[in-house]
Symmetry: C2
Subunit: 227 residues, 2 copies
């Protein structure tokens, strides 16, 4: 039976770790999650990993609000990878950032492990670390706390996090800039926040939080720091 | 003038990124933070980065409770690096994990930037991502929240975080295992927590939280998951 590797590639290019490069080069098949039919991840490894002899399989994960639709697609992806592993093919699934942080790999690996397949996770640089580096700020220092939240529920609970944590990272914030902007302005925190979008890709943006909208891969870093 | 690089090396070995390897190979001087006189970081890069022609400088950062002592040591470190940069030597300071997550590099880079030196941060894999990978769990999925807290103030505020976040990472938890154990037991969360210590180093431990003590580099991952 083949082995399954969940491989975090950071933002690709120089962010790829030596272990990720090795895992990808040793794999027979590279599996690419293709959200909405677009595959960013594959294009980000091609300059540093020779994939000329690899089989590439694109796994569809529709970003539906319907839980059943999502689960059906995920199970179908697991079945597909399992079939490849059954033929003895080592399969590496690549993911942007780290394979343990908001990654579809986690789900696939967990299901495959349940079915008795051997799995291994190869860590990568999470996008929020790359965002902090590009914005020239640290995420946490000394005894500070750090909260990482997706920009889905910017409700009272989020305001509480904003008020009680030293540093806050908001993931996938591109469509919620105005709401975050207002919350920060109210608290006098606009000067302590940075936005980073599409780092290392087309349309890269790093700077103060703008009004309006940015792309899907937008991270906001709010660095209140130690009181 | 030379340029200053803050380089996160993950846990060394295969965790080193291609960009980190390049930055270290292009540096004239490699600066190593030597807390309590021990340097773990340097030994972790030697198998993958040729440092035979590098000058190595060990910077002392005493882990004193005295703020003045710490600041004096930090300023002295900044002065020392600045002197090297003044002679045109590119200097790369290495740090375990990511250079933006609880790293002494952040402070040195910030001070050097204030003094007009060119600085760049090269991201690395944070230790908590490596810990999650080795423990075979994800840090966050879907719309879950993640809190990262150092094990210094395990007070009411920490209990609140424990009760309100989906996933919690406790850093440098080696001396506080019993306290964390009790808090988790009370909440029926022991089965959802893992400890990872000294990953990729001597005395590696990955498993359920034990009673007693583990080393300085101990991370606890509490994965409550989506309610």
């Amino acid at each position: 039976m083949g082995k399954f590797y969940s491989v975090g590639i950071g933002l690709g290019g120089g962010y790829i770790t030596l272990a990720a490069k090795r895992a990808l080069e040793n794999a027979d098949v590279i599996a690419v999650p293709a959200k909405s039919g677009k595959s960013t991840a594959l294009s980000l490894i091609q300059d540093n990993v020779d994939i000329s002899d690899k089989h590439i399989i694109t796994l569809g994960f529709p970003m539906s609000r319907n839980t059943e639709t999502r689960e059906k697609a995920r199970n179908s992806a697991v079945d597909t990878v399992a079939a490849l592993l059954d033929t003895g093919k080592n399969t590496a699934m690549i993911t942007l950032g780290d394979a343990a942080v908001y990654s579809t790999c986690s789900y696939v690996a967990k299901e495959l492990a349940k079915r008795g397949y051997e799995t291994e996770t190869v860590s990568g640089v999470p996008s929020f670390c790359a965002a902090a580096a590009r914005a020239g700020v640290s995420l946490c220092e000394g005894n500070e706390t750090l909260a990482v939240v997706p920009a889905v529920n910017l409700d009272e609970r989020f305001e509480e996090i904003l008020d009680t944590f030293d540093n806050i990272v908001v993931m996938k914030a591109g469509k919620n800039l105005d709401k975050i902007y207002d919350m920060l302005e109210k608290r006098g925190l606009l000067g302590k926040a940075a936005a980073a979008s599409n780092i290392g890709m087309n349309g890269e943006f790093v700077g103060k939080i703008p009004r309006g909208e940015l792309g899907y891969f937008t991270t906001i870093i709010i660095k209140k720091g130690t009181p």
